[in-house]
Amino acid sequence: MTYFPEEVVEHIFDFLGSHRDRNAVSTVCKAWYGVERLSRRSVFVGNCYAVRPERVVARFPGVRSLSVKGKPHFADFNLVPDDWGGFALPWIEAFARGGLGLEELRLKRMVVSDESLELLARSFPSFKVLVLISCEGFSTDGLAAIATHCRVLRELDLQENEVEDCGPRWLSCFPDSCTSLVSLNFACLKGEVNAAALERLVARCPNIRTLRLNRAVSVDSLSKILARAPHLVDLGTGSFTIDHHAEAYHRLINNFTKCKSLKSLSGFWDASPRCLPAVYPICGNLTGLNLSYAPAIQGADLIKLIRLCLKLQRLWVLDCIGDKGLAVVASTCKELQELRVFPSDVCGVGTAAVTEEGLVAISSGCPKLNSLLYFCHQMTNAALVTVAKNCPHFTRFRLCILDPGKPDPVTNQPLDEGFGAIVQSCKDLRRLSLSGLLTDQVFLYIGMYAECLEMLSIAFAGDSDKGMVYVLNGCKNLRKLEIRDSPFGDAALLEDVGKYETMRSLWMSSCYVTLKGCKTLAAKMPRLNVEVINERDESDEMEENPSDLRRVEKMYVYRTVAGPRNDAPDFVWML
């Protein structure tokens, strides 16, 4: 290939969509490395500490789009202390200093300060897309900076972030000249919003297709917005609470009817069942529906709504839908690909809402199902075997039985066979989360059959080191392994230390791994960062000189070319 001019090689590389493919071609030879790095427009950094921002900037001077992930996944469940790290600022600073023409930034689980947002807004005149998922550390003042300075902003997508409310003025910071918005999602903001400013903004952005409002937006406002933007494709409704006798309600129905392009609905924060008929006219077109924040919509009303959604591909609901409701989904939504059933009672105790029956019904009615997140009170092996047979196309299978370590209630057996059936049948399975009573056997199955598995989440499972070793030995595509409260110790950890360089990260908390084991791993593998996270209070005498035999509360191991990080807080020991 050396006799091809660079422009031709570059042109060929343009056809390579995925990061992995581009990474692969860059290792072929120096020439290709050179061509690839200059023509790369989009970089994905799965772990912000795996590489230094400056290095990314130096290698890829033409990058326009950057995605970075910070905290480990278990941070979602409060297992990672707040000040652990994952700061966005160094990345934004490096790109600003490097003079790159950044246009898109997507951050997940990172700490983003108002200062970073301000720097971002001022440094990149062509900035178009900002997506923040599960981030924290910023306030609406940071958003104001984005609105003020990003003249060609197309997307502002805030998903499930913790945002401090400094008032509604941020929305008014979009100048009158801003007409470029295509997507605006501020559903996670807790504060008030200036309704008039919002309506004006929507009115002057003719290309707006995604609009997700927060709870503070009234139905009246929603109605006006729908009237101005009937081409919306994706709508988050806001509070959706209204007196269903009022004239406003009839206006709302009218305006909904005009939205012929609506494909996805979410929000419904305070919706009462009486308001639901307002959306009936568009249900037939919906491919996505998220009712998981609407606990007031239950039983019969939910079923009535779902019966109209014949084209549904993605459904997120609360478990108050019940097994009966899921049976209705199964008979109605034949195109269903993704289902998430969340617990309405977050304490995990209470009356059984969905069980294995609901899941079996779904599996037999929805053969296209490939992604599942299912919180339930119980599961049986028989049900899982049936599900595996009915739905061999699962790529993501996450089952959470609310009672940790609960066996099959019918046979009192562990759920090894059930999950074994899933991994054996679903050859394309990339992500798996286990729960219920599980022995080492399930890990044997996973190691044997789950060839495509990339991410595995384990909690309260297994009997011995063998379990973890089966997984490490067997799953050759494993990228992320996260384990909590399981009896895996140093022997398992150290069985195959080279494995961790083929993975993005390993998380182990409340397991049997000791400080000695962590130190050994760190010593053997210099290109891994081994972090030990201790949240001890000062009264713990052992803190000063911990014995190596002491079990480690939380350990996070990840491959890196950046060396040990310099922003780790006191309670994180870099070994």
């Binding site: 469940f77 924060w269 924040y293 304490c347 959470c400 370590g405 562990p414 989360s433 002491r550």
Partner: protein, 198 residues
């Protein structure tokens, strides 16, 4: 794992709002032990092992069982739901039930805080009695900051909307509960200072 708190009470954790009377430093509730102790990882692993009829695995913690099982088990990070989702439900629940005015009560010298619902009390006297009951396990004697009683070493104070610490009892009850953000039972000289100010 040796010692220490495996499960840290945090913002999203409902346990913080649960009123349980017990000796300081333990989590033992008054309610009888449930069949499925889920309070600690060790207890959990051992429960699993018992269930399967196995003997204790050699890697079991030498300390053996220690944490008293909790009636309403709250394992940190379980079920695995994002805090964002948990918080949005809890906020809603509180609103929906018109759930009173939950405020934290701290007492100088006590190892942990309590939480009370101000709407439940009809006036200062009831509040005083309730606070006495809450903290009486610390053998602190009579609490009285409200009638300006001398001889007592304590003063009950509250933080108002402006962030100032005020002595409880000066304003009408309704006004008090609408502006009270948290309570603090002050001790010693600070308390004397509070009470002697005009």
């Amino acid at each position: 794992m040796e010692g220490g708190a495996t499960y840290v009470s945090d913002l999203g954790n409902l346990k913080a709002t649960e009123l349980r009377l017990g000796l300081p430093g333990t989590d033992a509730p008054e309610k009888p032990t449930p069949e499925n102790p889920r309070g600690s990882k060790r207890a959990l692993l051992e429960a699993n092992e018992e269930f399967r009829g196995k003997s204790k695995s050699p890697e079991a913690d030498p300390n053996g069982q220690e944490a008293a099982p909790m009636a309403k088990a709250q394992v940190v990070g379980w079920p695995p739901i994002r805090s964002y989702r948990k918080n949005s439900f809890q906020a809603r629940k509180a609103e929906a039930e018109g759930a009173g005015l939950l405020v934290k009560v701290s007492m100088d010298g006590a190892p942990y805080l309590r939480k009370i619902d101000l709407k439940v009390y009809k006036g200062y006297k009831e509040l005083g009695e309730a606070l006495e009951n809450l903290f009486k396990c610390f053998s602190l004697g009579e609490l009285s900051g409200m009638e300006g009683c001398n001889g007592s070493e304590y003063a009950i104070t509250y933080e108002d909307k402006d962030g100032d610490w005020m002595l409880v009892g000066d304003v009408p009850w309704e006004m008090f509960i609408s502006s009270c953000k948290r309570l603090r039972i002050m001790t010693g000289s600070e308390a004397r200072g509070m009470r002697s100010s005009p």
